[in-house]
Symmetry: none
Subunit: 98 residues, 4 copies
DNA sequence: CCCGGCGTTAATGCAC
DNA sequence: GTGCATTAACGCCGGG
């Protein structure tokens, strides 16, 4: 079993097991983990931005619950439009007509 | 700290740590776990029943995807009716009108 | 709108209600849909029961998150769990986490 | 229906469009909603990026479930994790699982 | 300041 | 084996 396969099969693995630069699989693993973590940093920042917008709206006297509802309904409407074209066929299928 | 509190605070606990019948907290823990598990047995059975209904419908020539869509829409319609009365007020709130 | 007509929330499902086959299909469809819905009523009740058990356990001082993990561990196959843990250790080593 | 009119999918939001205050409120509302939606567009893109990273890792032979757990472990506070594990062990002992 | 409710998101199981 | 539908977990938010 190669080093590459070790990460899956359960063999021993470390980032610096006496070798000079660690093995390739560990390096790739680290790369994947760090890419995910970098994305999550940005996600966290965006979540805070959104919270800030809602807080600002609340400060301006709007009902945040209602605001959230509107946003979600606009999203739902967009989704509905995208799928509306297939609904009639779907119902015909439901009746075994096609 | 009593045995009762041990389950929370991190003290040592076992179902028969030398005593004759185990302690009360362990007994209650077991009770909760088993109640959950009994419920989950029934849930699993119901999920299989539902699968069976869909399989039967499919055998009768119906499109199961369409069928599921219909069921979910009926559910959504029921929910919509339940919440529809509050939507207008919600929007008025959104506009800061009330 | 009567119950008969309220199959999908508006209008008749069958587009050719004068024919026998169309009505028969609609009738069978209705039967399947209602069977599913009856099952889902019970499923909903069971979900609430489970929530109630966890709430009760919480009221008794147990950590519900830990409780849920315990339940899931009892479900999981011991061998699978051990294998998964070995993969985790492998990754942790590769990242220098241990 | 123009973009201007399509605030919530049908009809004007403002019930008194002749007044200044109603229009102003609707305008501010629109602004908040659009700011939120712009953020959500980016959030959606980031979620897809993350999925892509995991898919790529899976393609490279890594166990994505383990990968996700690693990421979450790196996020979690070590002390909290240890405390939670001790609670788990407590419960496991109480149930005779270990 | 804690609590329960809710909305979102990840995980599991299923059908194809 | 891949995509999807359901289900459970998580974190945020508003109220008491």
């Amino acid at each position: 079993m190669s080093d590459e396969e070790d990460l899956i099969g359960g063999g021993d693995l470390s980032s610096d097991e006496g070798s000079n630069s660690g093995n390739a699989a560990a390096s790739r693993l680290r790369s994947f983990v760090e890419r995910v973590e970098r994305i999550e940093v940005v996600q966290k920042a965006l979540a805070e931005d959104k919270k800030e917008v809602y807080a600002e709206a609340k400060g301006a006297g709007f009902d945040t619950k209602a605001l959230r509802k509107i946003v979600s309904e606009r999203k739902a409407n967009a989704d509905d439009l995208a799928e509306f074209e297939s609904i009639l066929d779907l119902y015909r299928h439901a009746l075994g007509m096609i």
